[in-house]
C-alpha cells in the first residue's frame, strides 16, 4: 500500500566556519561527520521498502580537491549481525536434498551501500578488502575455518548472491551527492524485509583514492502496529498465545455451526 516513501533521518549541521583562513600553515586533515535526526525508525506492517536519507559534512576540506571532485564518500547502513547457515541442494536419487552447508558467524542481515561514484572508481580492491567495505568485499567469517578454501569461497559467493537477490544487500551508485563543498546527502535503500534491530550507519571518506577517515552513527529500526504486537505476544507469551489460537479455532468452529447449521 505504502509506496516508496522517503524517511528523512535528517541533518546534522555542524556547520563549519564558512571559509578556512587564507593561508594555513599545516594543512589540517579532513574529517567526516554524519548525523541522524532520529535514532529510531518505526516501520508498519505494510512497509514496502523506503529510502533513508543521511546527511553529513566534510570538515577541513581542501577547496581545490573538492572542486576537482577528488573527494569520495561511501555510506553504509549495516543491519545487526547474526549467524547464518548457507545450504546447497544436490540431487540424491533424482530428489533435490539440502546436503552441503556452511555456517558463517556474524553476517549482517542487511547491508546497503551508497557511493559518490562506482566502487571500482573510488579506490582499489585491496583497500576495500582491508576496510571490509562493500557487499562483495565484506569479510564473512566461517564458523569452521577448517573447511577447504574453495568450499568457503563458493558458499560466501552464494550468501552474497542470495542477499542481493532478496534486496537486503544493495548498492546505490551516485546515492551520495555533495550539496556544497562541505555538505553531502546519502540515500540508502531499506528493503521491504529490512530486519528490526540496531543498524549502524558508517561513512567513509576517500581523497584521491586514499582512505582518510570514518564516522558512524546508530539507528534503531522497529516495527510497529497490530501485527507486530501479535508477533511479540507469540514470542514472549507463547503458551498463552497457543491457548488463544486453540480457543479462537474452537469458537470459530462453534459459531460456524450456529450460523450455517443444516441439521
Amino acid at each position: 500500500m505504502a509506496g516508496l516513501r522517503t524517511l528523512a533521518a535528517a541533518a546534522l549541521l555542524s556547520l563549519l566556519p564558512a571559509a578556512p583562513p587564507a593561508k594555513a600553515q599545516a594543512p589540517l586533515t579532513e574529517n567526516i561527520q554524519i548525523g541522524l535526526s532520529t535514532d529510531n525508525v518505526s516501520i508498519t506492517a505494510g512497509f514496502s521498502g523506503a529510502d533513508l536519507t543521511i546527511f553529513g559534512s566534510l570538515e577541513n576540506a581542501d577547496p581545490l580537491v573538492a572542486r576537482q571532485g577528488r573527494y569520495d564518500v561511501i555510506v553504509v547502513l549495516e543491519g545487526p549481525a547474526r549467524p547464518v547457515v548457507v545450504r546447497r541442494k544436490d540431487r540424491v536419487l533424482g530428489v533435490w536434498v539440502n546436503l552441503e552447508s556452511e555456517t558463517f558467524k556474524n553476517v549482517p542481515v542487511s547491508y546497503s551501500v551508497a557511493t559518490t561514484r562506482p566502487l571500482q572508481d573510488v579506490t582499489d580492491p585491496n583497500s576495500y578488502k582491508q576496510l571490509s567495505l562493500g557487499a562483495s568485499n565484506l569479510y564473512l567469517q566461517p564458523a569452521d575455518a577448517g573447511d577447504s578454501p574453495a568450499t568457503i569461497e563458493e558458499f560466501t559467493a552464494a550468501l552474497r548472491e542470495r542477499k542481493s537477490a532478496t534486496g537486503l544487500y544493495s548498492e546505490n551508485v551516485g546515492g551520495v551527492q555533495f550539496l556544497s563543498q562541505n555538505l553531502f546527502r546519502a540515500t540508502v535503500r531499506l528493503a521491504p524485509n529490512v530486519p528490526v534491530g540496531t543498524h549502524k550507519a558508517r561513512a567513509f571518506l576517500f581523497k584521491s583514492g586514499l582512505f582518510i577517515k570514518e564516522s558512524s552513527a546508530q539507528l534503531e529500526i522497529r516495527k510497529s502496529g497490530f501485527e507486530q504486537s501479535i508477533f511479540r505476544v507469540a514470542h514472549d507469551y507463547s503458551f498463552l498465545y497457543g491457548v488463544f489460537a486453540v480457543s479462537l479455532a474452537m469458537l470459530t468452529g462453534w459459531l460456524g455451526r450456529l450460523v450455517f447449521r443444516k441439521d
Binding site: 547464518v84 533424482g94 486453540v246 479455532a249 443444516k262
Partner: protein, 307 residues
C-alpha cells in the same frame, strides 16, 4: 487487498486466503474430511514457509473438526471411550512428532521431509482409494451387488492381548492397536499439520472394524484434541502458529463446509470417493514434481536454530 501475516512475515492477499479456506471447506464438507491435508500443501504452494504452514494447518483443523464433532455428539455417533484411548496414544505421538520436527528444522531437512511424507502418504491413500472406488463403480455398473464384509470377521489385530470393551462401537479389542493408531496420527499431525482423518477413518473401519456410523464422529473427536495439543506445542516451542492466517482460513472454511456437505448429498458414495482419490493424487503429484524439478535457487540461507 493485502494483509501482512505477523508470524509468516509476508504480505498475502486476504481474498486468496478466504477463497482457499472456502474451497477446502467445501471439499471437506463434501467428503467428510478435515481438509488439513489440502490446506498445508496449498499454503506451501502459496509461499508460506512450510514450518508455519504445518503449525497453522493444525490450528485450522481444530475449527472444522470441532464443529463436525458437535454435530456427531448431538446425533450420538461418537464413542468417547474409544476416542479417549486414541487420544492417549495421540498425545505421545504428537510429542514425539514435535521433537522430530524441531530436529529436522535444525538440520535443514524439514521442508524435504514434509514434502516426502505428503507424497508418500497422499500417494498411497489416494491410489488405494481410487482402485477401491473404481472397482465399486464397475461393480455397480455391471449390476453385481457390492460385496459387504461380514461383521465379526477377525484378523490378527483381534488376537492381541489387553482387550477392552467399547460399548458405543460394539467392539471388544486390544488397546495396543488403538493406542498405536492414535500415536501414529498424533505424529503425523505434528509433522504434517493434518488432523489425520484421511488415515484414521479407513484404519478404524478396515483394521479395527469399528461401525462406519461412529467412525467419523470418533475420529473428529480425537482430532480436535490432537491438533489442539499440536498447536499449543508448536506455539510454545517453535513459535510458528500464525493466528491471522489460521483465522482467515477458518472463516472461509466453516462457510464452505456447509455448502460442500449439501453438494456431497447429491453424489453417490463411490463417485465421491473416486473424486476425493483423484484430488488427493493430484496434490501428491504436484508435491512430487517439486521434489524432482531443479529448484531456481540451489542455495538457501537460514538462521542458526531458526527457519
Amino acid at each position: 487487498m493485502g494483509i501482512y501475516l505477523p508470524i509468516a512475515e509476508i504480505s498475502v492477499n486476504i481474498f486468496v486466503l478466504l477463497a482457499m479456506g472456502a474451497a477446502v471447506g467445501f471439499l471437506s464438507g463434501m467428503f467428510g474430511v478435515g481438509g488439513g491435508f489440502l490446506i498445508t500443501p496449498l499454503l506451501i504452494f502459496y509461499n508460506i514457509p512450510p514450518a508455519i504452514a504445518v503449525a497453522t494447518g493444525a490450528n485450522q483443523v481444530i475449527a472444522s473438526s470441532f464443529s463436525g464433532a458437535l454435530s456427531h455428539m448431538k446425533r450420538g455417533t461418537l464413542d468417547f471411550k474409544l476416542g479417549g484411548v486414541l487420544l492417549g496414544g495421540g498425545i505421545v505421538g504428537s510429542t514425539g512428532g514435535i521433537y522430530v520436527f524441531a530436529l529436522l528444522r535444525r538440520l535443514g531437512q524439514l521442508d524435504l521431509f514434509i514434502s516426502l511424507l505428503y507424497v508418500v502418504l497422499l500417494g498411497t491413500v489416494g491410489g488405494l482409494m481410487l482402485v477401491e472406488s473404481v472397482n465399486a463403480l464397475r461393480a455397480t455398473r455391471s449390476g453385481a451387488a457390492p460385496v459387504l464384509k461380514k461383521s465379526g470377521q477377525h484378523n490378527w489385530i483381534h488376537r492381541l492381548p489387553l482387550k477392552m470393551r467399547f460399548r458405543a462401537s460394539k467392539l471388544f479389542v486390544s488397546v495396543i492397536p488403538v493406542l498405536g493408531l492414535g500415536a501414529a496420527i498424533g505424529f503425523l499431525s505434528s509433522i504434517m499439520g493434518v488432523g489425520g482423518g484421511f488415515i484414521m477413518v479407513p484404519a478404524l473401519i478396515y483394521l479395527l472394524k469399528v461401525p462406519t456410523n461412529v467412525v467419523i464422529g470418533t475420529s473428529l473427536f480425537q482430532i480436535i484434541f490432537t491438533s489442539a495439543y499440536t498447536t499449543l506445542v508448536h506455539a510454545t516451542t517453535n513459535q510458528t502458529v500464525d493466528v491471522m492466517l489460521a483465522f482467515l482460513l477458518m472463516a472461509g472454511g466453516v462457510a464452505g463446509a456447509q455448502y460442500g456437505a449439501k453438494a456431497g448429498q447429491r453424489l453417490r458414495g463411490e463417485q465421491l470417493r473416486a473424486l476425493l482419490a483423484l484430488l488427493v493424487l493430484a496434490v501428491a503429484i504436484r508435491l512430487a514434481i517439486d521434489l524432482f524439478v531443479t529448484p531456481p535457487n540451489l542455495y538457501s540461507l537460514s538462521g542458526v536454530g531458526l527457519s
